[in-house]
Assembly symmetry: C2
Homo-oligomer: 191 residues x 2
């Protein structure tokens, strides 16, 4: 039953990641089961365990892709905008937009027990953090302060999105995530 030439190991990884991502986008993180993904790939569950150590490994691969895609967006922002405050407002908006447009991919980012020993994962995280810190540098002063502010900014963005997702925001009325982020940034950026 082996079909060794159907897909190389790399192709299998890519295929599994693509299928997994589609499943998550369509049905949410809970649809990311070994059997679901395998069926969509045209393989069986066992094959997945040839590629990933476990199902969290597949989730990590999807997350890395999400982060890389997001990092590219930030790069664009940094390329086309020179003013620090403008940059940070756009980056923040990009975060909200990502959660708005792909809520399930966003949820997967924080539903997955991260594999701290995965270098690829760490790199993807750092790529984003470094960009945000770079954007903050002119406002924060030292590099260390910029890194701290990046963590604060990221924490706040994430927390606000969480509140939204959990329906604790009374979004219907006035406190939209956008408004909260604006209020936060107005304070945070006046350095």
């Amino acid at each position: 039953m082996a079909r060794r030439k159907d897909h190389t190991r790399e192709e299998l990884t890519a295929l599994a990641t693509k299928c997994g991502q589609q499943l998550v986008i369509a049905e949410g993180p809970s649809a990311l089961t070994a059997r679901n993904v395998a069926k969509m790939m045209g393989y069986t569950a066992g094959t997945l365990y040839n590629i990933f150590e476990n199902i969290d490994g597949l989730a990590a691969a999807i997350n890395i892709q999400s982060m890389d895609s997001f990092a590219k967006g930030i790069e664009e922002i940094l390329r086309h905008n020179a003013k620090p405050k403008k940059r940070l407002r756009l980056i923040s908006k990009a975060y909200l937009t990502f959660q708005e447009e792909e809520p399930y991919l966003w949820a997967l980012l924080f539903a997955t027990p991260i594999n701290s020993d995965s270098d690829a994962y760490r790199q993807a995280v750092h790529r984003i953090f470094d960009q945000v810190a770079e954007a903050l540098q002119p406002l924060s002063g030292s590099a260390k302060a910029a890194r701290q502010d990046a963590k604060i900014l990221w924490s706040t963005l994430h927390g606000i999105c969480l509140l939204k997702e959990h329906g604790k925001l009374d979004v219907s009325t006035t406190d939209t995530p956008e408004e909260l982020v604006k209020r936060f940034l107005d304070q945070f950026l006046q350095k």
Copy 2:
């Protein structure tokens, strides 16, 4: 096999909540299984489904208890401190302390798919939010602004704790949660 007088319905609820809490504290949210809790109670899994609609209902009960306990702490702070900034620094510190001392209970708060139709849950959340908003009122101006700032503050505290938990904080070096919160508050409270 029925032991109708062993425990009333209320006692059963309390017992299940207590056992569940102990399990979570000792072994983490993943130990909160129906069979685990039931065994600790001296019952079987089926009994739990007489009390709670599902296992998330039990998690919700534990979370409500966590929030109530936390709310009491905030009340103490508000009772003994009049100055707005001092209040907020202590409340923030209390949040960090809770996550430090009961990391698993804290994790359960955000690992549980919240039952939005649970009044008790909503109340517990609001009790905390209202207190924080009250503490912010003198600094934020309007009641609406205070509620927004409460959400921002809460989001940031939560996000920082998440970063810490996920090991993305390089805590070992310099960026402790305490330091990040201090930096955030120094900005946030200067109104």
